[in-house]
């Protein structure tokens, strides 16, 4: 009898123990992909996340990596990443952390934008919110496509397993198509106030789309459309990436200003001019307001001697604080797009007019004012005009990640050396592809020769 009681007791114990086992625990820390794209709130949050990631994270290599290659920055440490970029040549490989970072962050943002585009149509929501979500995602995707081919020879238009690469013309055309489609979305259903207020309070989306459209038309050589689209951009409108200085810091401030940065802007915007006997440092024109706008000219430090020992200044401009806002595009770019498009079309006088608009500008909404006199160069020489445009772009659009593309486009005949080069205006034409892409995607094309 007592054994039966004992055994019964033990079975009872076991029973209670087994009953208390819990076997499923949801992740309360973060939603998963299958939970996000099902409703308006999820899509809006993904849109905000896309802007947050692009502006605080992806923008850093967009500015930094080609910034070193095209001498906007001087480097004062021997960390491998900036050192390899400073030296350039064929030794710069797809294993360079900067090259990897730039590639993978752009593609990550592109993937997020593609997820939003693929899912937004399936969800019921107010038309103005849907058009906002779609237009923003298309704009962001077009932007990532643009930045990709500004730095790499080819890029995949659509993310995916074993993604196929397309040449830069196709990629830029795809970006143009996306931007036009975004404009169409907004035209059909104006963006709702709900979306504007919550997702893009600091961005004038329509103007930004037009601005990037103008940029890509120029890159594509479609000068008429470039001029026409640039004209549609309201130069008094501001679109900015927004930072709070704490959890969301200005990414350029983080690597180039905060603490003891090893990457600082070159005192003359890092512009190298070639009077025929080898590169010399460009001397900024006296009184160019953009010099003191972008830099604290009272501090004189030097990059490492092995990197040329060039003088560097402390960075100001849109980057002097953790919460400084960075423009999505600069209105001055529209003027410079027109200048170049006219010049390329042989309309040299119109081009000089636009150059002088930039040089004499004192009313820029962001305060990027050269405040110089009219250009005194040879107004009959197309190449002199293009050189002036290159210099004005280099200064006006300092640290916008465009100089690599500009140098390649305007000084296309220059062939970078395969060897170490710390002098010429660029030491590569395109970056090699990230080795992570190469190792995991059989469709990854061969690296560019230089």
């Amino acid at each position: 009898m007592k054994y039966i009681i004992k055994i019964f007791g033990i079975i009872f114990l076991t029973g209670i123990m087994l009953a208390s086992c819990k076997k499923d625990f949801p992740n309360i820390n973060a939603p998963s992909d299958d939970q996000i794209f099902k409703d308006k709130d999820g899509l809006m949050a993904a849109s905000i996340g896309l802007i947050q990631h692009f502006s605080t994270s992806t923008l850093a290599p967009i500015v930094e990596i080609p910034g070193i290659t095209t001498r906007e920055f001087g480097v004062s440490s021997t960390y491998v990443t900036p050192m390899e970029l400073t030296y350039g040549g064929t030794a710069l490989s797809g294993e360079n952390a900067g090259v990897i970072r730039l590639w993978s962050r752009l593609l990550r943002d592109k993937g997020m934008a593609e997820n939003i585009i693929a899912n937004a149509d399936k969800v019921d929501m107010p038309a103005g919110t849907k058009s906002g979500i779609l237009a923003l995602a298309k704009f962001m995707k077009a932007m990532t496509l643009g930045y990709l081919v500004m730095d790499y020879q080819e890029a995949p238009i659509n993310n995916g397993v074993d993604a196929k690469f397309s040449n830069r013309t196709d990629v830029l055309n795809a970006a143009v198509t996306l931007l036009k489609s975004a404009l169409g979305d907004i035209a059909a259903n104006p963006i709702s106030n709900d979306f504007k207020k919550k997702v893009i309070p600091t961005i004038d989306l329509k103007n930004s789309i037009q601005a990037f459209l103008a940029r890509y038309y120029l890159y594509l050589g479609d000068y008429q459309n470039a001029i026409a689209t640039a004209d549609k951009v309201d130069l008094t409108s501001k679109s900015e990436w927004w930072y709070d200085g704490s959890e969301n810091k200005n990414p350029v401030y983080t690597f180039a200003v905060d603490g003891q940065p090893d990457t600082k802007p070159r005192w003359n915007f890092g512009i190298m001019v070639n009077p025929g006997t080898g590169y010399v440092e460009y001397q900024p024109e006296a009184g160019d307001g953009r010099l003191t706008f972008y830099m604290d000219t009272t501090v004189h430090e030097h990059a490492l001697p092995e990197f040329g020992g060039y003088e560097v200044h402390n960075l100001k401009g849109f980057f002097d604080n953790g919460n400084s806002k960075i423009p999505v595009y600069l209105p001055g770019e529209m003027i410079l797009i027109k200048a170049e498009a006219y010049a390329r079309q042989g309309k040299l006088a119109e081009a000089v007019t636009q150059i002088n608009l930039i040089r004499e500008k004192t009313n820029d909404v962001f305060g990027v004012n050269a405040g110089l006199g009219a250009w005194t160069g040879d107004a009959t020489s197309k190449s002199a005009i293009l050189d002036q445009i290159y210099i004005q772009r280099s200064i006006e659009l300092f640290l916008t990640g465009q100089r690599f593309e500009d140098s390649r486009r305007i000084h296309s005949s220059f062939v970078p050396s395969p060897n170490q080069d710390i002098v010429s205006e660029r030491n590569r034409n395109f970056y090699p592809y990230s080795y992570v892409e190469r190792n995991n995607n059989p469709n990854c094309p061969a690296d560019p020769k230089i």
């Binding site: 993904a46 849109s47 605080t56 003891q260």
Partner: protein, 1005 residues
């Protein structure tokens, strides 16, 4: 969680009431009071043995000897046949038949002999109930408190060092609370930890190495919370063959720790105290040239003052340790209370570690068939750490700085020495304290409702709360606005295990033991962190600054499983065991959740056969052959929620966005599975004067989890997949010998040797990066964590190809695809040469340049006893492995290193060491070392006083000498702390100090 806890308490309470009420009933029926007395004496030197245990088997009755080796107790028993066992740590257990009849006064005098060979020990880990080691089909290593008495290890894992064959124990940092890695038979996972499962008194304990605050890779591991003074003995199962019944937590092996328990008798008080001094053993070869390059003529050296920053960064540090325990027992109750305090300084200025431990354990016999044991350990400890890394690590700064500058403060202001931190300022002004509190509790109930049936229930509770801070004051040169960060981690682990074993004789010659068990385990952790900068002056809390980051992350996990194990023994000679375990865990995919792990083992005690006894039995008194097969999993390799693609939260501009993660989820993940086969023999020679244990093993790990890189064009960076296989093959040997055994002098030697060949047999893509900028990799056909990087350019004949200046240079050329044995294709470097100059051309090439896995490890301990003196000498050997010395790399380039000194002095051409910076092969060092790990001389004042029983003095030294050819501080380090794949990387690490200690132990009763 709380509900679960209250439910368990309720169950325990119910069980107590329920069974307790039948106590009177159970004890009725003609019991007679018997009076047992006698002595237990050492068979070798005829000295009485205090504290030996006398137990009437299966009756919950027994006692212990007093200081004179005498026992005396009474027990109520029914007349009949019983067994009585005499045992104590380090001696062979003797079991005698006991016939109780009319004579109620029983006198028993027993001689027991030391168990030098350890082949007769009784173990419980991995088996159903108490089992003699000589019956097992698998090897099991044991460490007793005596083994570590002389060396006073800092933590439980350190106690395994050199004491367990096949265990590679590495201290990853010389900080006083620095982490330790234990590898039993090599690594068994890539992404997870290869550290074994630790169980203390039945409680599965947390041994996390969480980096709460970024200290540049440095972490503690949580075993440091527990005072190793509490160890009674340790049992170690090294692989799946032995540990299969621990299921999906066992593929790294199982280390079960048993703490000291009270014994029946008068209260015994043990007190020990020690003081110690730590110092750095060796400096990095710094630039002591007292010269610099002339700025006007960079080829000429001119006099200059150079400073040895290491003189200030490192200092002599002192520590002390005190321990007191009170133990005893009366009637059915036994108890032990203990308290300890440890305070130790670190050799890096302003680092230290303080630990307080309190422990209590009560064993209560409730009735003849039921007993309960309750124990709690409370630990509170704190440390002051020093970070590693670019912006504020003092040793990192040392590597980069030009030591021409005097970093000493001028009028209280530390000079700026460049983009790296001023190392003096770092050690003086950075605060990185950690505080940890820990509670380990267990309730264990034992039932013997039927003869031969043992049921145990264990409820274990482990709670750890860790708090880490980082404070860098305003005005710090490289962080001018200051930094204040705080992170906490609360971890709770609960295990609830019910096990039963039933043993009976099928026939007079066949014995059967059946074990069944069920376990439910629940873990949760809560991480919380706040990071700020731009601090207000004076205030140190995070409220004083602006927010730069925060984190609130919670995880929950449960594991459940059951096992069935059946053993048959034939005539105490042949033992066969079969077992199976079913396991599940919440962390894995729904379809892959439930796993089955089988086990089989057999052993044959040939020495019990008559033919053996009659032939070589006079020399070989024990010989056992054993073989074992088993499978086990690695569940903890993967953090919870890895099956989901979880978007990150991104608050901005008053809204919270969702950002796609770098790592994509994988719903089909399953635990890695290790299949192990081991075979070996145990041999006792010359009446156990010499014991040999030898084991050969082979482990195959499949479904190896790897963080597979994804092409960025997928939108993601990586994903966990079960896409690898790995093997470990090796052998291990333990030898224990009494070389000399005289009345006044004895010499015993213990040696452990082992060899392990680890090979990653398959990784998807042929090669994956493990860390340290891709220098530690896993490649198909190579050992885990081999070093990969740029190498020296060589001529086709293999000799160095120098450049036009006569300096070494990087190899250049192209890559060619090569198919590896597993079918994966990887690019392999092929050097190319310029046809005219013969110099390297092409891209810079990388290849495998080193291996951090030792070829073999060994340890030899000698104990010499002369009268009251004992001398203990232990030598550890780790041979045939490489260390990647980033310290050397930096010192080849930056002017604070010896390379610049040589160039300045003209011993080598200027610029000749610079190329080494780019040639990773140049800083691959031979790490092989032989260390004089411990030397301890103790004097035991065997007092005959009435109150003080024992007084012992010990003088010892640790890490006194290292015989190695290593360039840096010490090859026994690892920058990535307890990381599994990244091993043998040395960058700005704190070396292991040399320690001198003086201690005293007193026992009163």
């Amino acid at each position: 969680m709380k509900k679960f806890f209250t439910r368990i308490l309720f169950v325990v309470l119910m069980a107590g009431l329920f069974f307790g009420s039948y106590k009177a009933n159970a004890q009725t029926g003609g019991a007679v009071t018997y009076h047992f007395r006698g002595t237990v004496t050492d068979a070798k030197n005829q000295e009485p043995i205090p504290g030996a245990t006398i137990i009437i088997v299966n009756q919950n009755l027994g006692s212990a000897t007093n200081r004179d080796g005498v026992f005396d107790f009474t027990a109520k028993l029914k007349p009949g046949n019983y067994q009585i066992a005499f045992s104590t740590v380090g001696y062979k257990t003797v079991v005698k038949k006991l016939v109780l009849g009319n004579n109620t006064n029983i006198t028993l005098n027993e001689l027991i002999s030391p168990d030098i060979t350890r082949l007769n020990e009784v173990v419980v880990t991995g088996v159903s109930g108490f089992t003699k080691k000589s019956h097992l089909g698998n090897s099991i290593s044991t460490v007793s408190s005596k083994d570590i008495e002389a060396t006073t290890p800092l933590s439980i894992d350190a106690a395994l060092q050199g004491n367990v064959a096949g265990a590679l124990v590495m201290r990853n940092s010389g900080n006083p609370a620095g982490g330790i890695s234990v590898r039993l038979r090599g690594a068994s996972t890539v992404v997870g930890s290869s550290d074994p499962l630790y169980i203390i008194d039945g409680v599965i304990v947390n041994n996390n190495s969480s980096q709460l605050i970024n200290l540049g890779g440095y972490t503690q591991n949580r075993l440091v919370d527990i005072d190793p003074n509490e160890i009674d003995h340790i049992e170690v199962l090294k692989g799946a063959a032995a540990a299969a019944i621990y299921g999906s937590r066992a593929s790294n092996g199982v280390v079960q720790i048993f703490t000291k328990r009270g014994k029946t008798g008068k209260p015994k008080i043990t007190f020990s105290s020690s003081v110690n001094m730590n110092q750095i053993r060796k400096y990095l070869p710094w630039n002591d040239a007292q010269l610099k390059w002339d700025p006007n003529d960079p080829t000429k050296a001119i006099p200059a003052t150079r400073y040895n920053y290491q003189d200030y960064i490192f200092n002599k540090a002192y520590g002390n340790e005190n321990y007191i325990s009170v133990s005893g027992g009366k009637g059915n109750t036994k108890y032990i209370f203990s308290a300890s305090q440890l305070s130790n300084g670190g050799i890096v200025r302003n680092t230290d570690f303080k630990r307080y431990n309190f422990r209590v354990r009560i064993d209560q016999i409730i009735s003849r068939w039921m007993s309960i044991s309750v124990g709690t350990t409370v630990s509170s400890n704190s440390s002051n750490e020093m970070p590693n890394g670019k912006n504020y690590g003092p040793i990192t700064s040392l590597l980069f700085a030009d030591n021409l500058k005097n970093p000493s403060p001028v009028n209280g202001v530390y000079p700026n020495i460049g983009w790296m931190a001023n190392p003096y300022e770092a050690v003086d002004r950075i605060e990185a304290p950690q505080k940890n509190s820990r509670t380990l509790s267990d309730i264990q109930m034992k039932f013997t409702p039927l003869k031969g049936l043992n049921i145990t229930y264990i409820f274990g509770y482990d709670h750890a709360f860790n708090d880490a801070r980082l404070f860098i004051p305003v005005g710090f040169n490289t962080k001018p606005y200051g930094v204040s960060e705080k992170a906490t981690m609360a971890t709770t682990m609960i295990n609830s295990d019910l096990n039963a074993a039933y043993s009976f004789h099928l026939s007079p010659s066949i014995n059967s033991i059946t074990g069944v068990g069920y376990t439910y385990q629940y873990n949760e952790s809560q991480y919380f962190a706040i990071r700020t900068n731009h601090l207000a002056p004076v205030a140190k809390v995070t409220d004083a600054g602006t927010l730069t980051g925060r984190s609130d992350y919670r995880t929950q996990r449960s594991i459940w499983g059951g096992y069935l194990q059946q053993t048959f023994g034939f005539k105490e000679k042949v033992f066969v065991t079969l077992a199976g375990r079913w396991d599940g865990a919440s962390t894995f995919g729904e379809n892959e959740r439930n796993q089955f792990y089988p086990k089989a083992s057999a052993s044959y005690l040939i020495s019990k056969e008559n033919f053996f006894k009659n032939s070589i039995g006079k020399v070989v008194n024990l010989f056992k052959l054993r073989a074992s097969y088993g499978q086990a999993g690695n569940l903890s390799a993967l953090a919870p929620y890895s099956i989901y693609t979880s978007y990150s939260l991104a608050p901005i501009n008053g809204q919270t966005g969702l950002v796609a993660p770098v790592r994509s989820g994988n719903p089909d993940l399953r635990p890695e599975r290790q299949t192990e086969f081991e075979a070996g023999f145990d041999m006792g020679l010359l009446q156990d004067r010499l014991g040999i244990e030898f084991t050969w093993y082979k482990q195959d790990i499949k479904d190896l989890l790897l963080l597979r890189s994804l092409a960025p064009s997928t939108g993601y960076g990586s994903r966990y997949e079960n896409v690898g296989t790995m093997t470990n093959k090796g052998w291990e040997l333990a030898i224990r010998a009494t070389v000399i055994q005289k009345k006044n002098f004895s010499w015993t030697v213990t040696g452990t040797f082992s060899q392990n060949h680890n090979k990653v047999t398959h990784v998807v893509g042929g090669k994956i990066d493990l860390g340290m900028w891709g220098t530690s990799i896993a490649q198909s056909g190579q050992p885990l964590g081999v070093f990969y990087g740029y190498f020296f350019a060589t001529k086709p004949d293999g000799s160095l190809l120098l450049n036009s200046k006569g300096f070494v240079q990087r190899a250049k050329g192209h890559y060619e695809n090569k198919t590896l044995p597993d079918g994966e294709v990887i690019p392999v470097a092929v050097q190319d040469y310029d046809p005219t100059t013969g110099q390297p051309v092409g891209t810079n090439l990388k290849k495998i340049i080193g291996d951090p896995n030792p070829k073999w490890i060994g340890s030899v301990s000698n104990t010499f006893n002369y009268k009251n003196f004992t001398l203990f000498v232990k030598v550890d050997m780790v041979q045939g492995f490489n260390v990647m010395s980033w310290d050397k790399r930096m010192f080849d380039l930056f002017p604070g290193g010896e390379a610049t000194a040589k160039e300045l002095r003209g011993e080598i051409p200027k610029g000749s060491s610079f190329p080494n910076f780019f040639i990773y092969q140049s800083f691959i060092e031979n790490g092989s070392f032989v260390k004089l790990r411990d030397v301890a001389l103790s004097y035991d004042l065997k007092l005959k006083s009435s109150w003080i029983h024992n007084l012992k003095f010990t003088m010892s030294g640790s890490n006194l000498v290292s015989f190695d050819h290593y360039w840096g501080f010490d090859p026994e380090v690892n920058t990535e702390a307890q990381s599994n794949g990244v091993r043998g990387q040395d960058m700005a690490n704190v070396p292991i100090p040399r320690v001198y200690r003086f201690g005293i132990v007193a026992t009163f009763n």
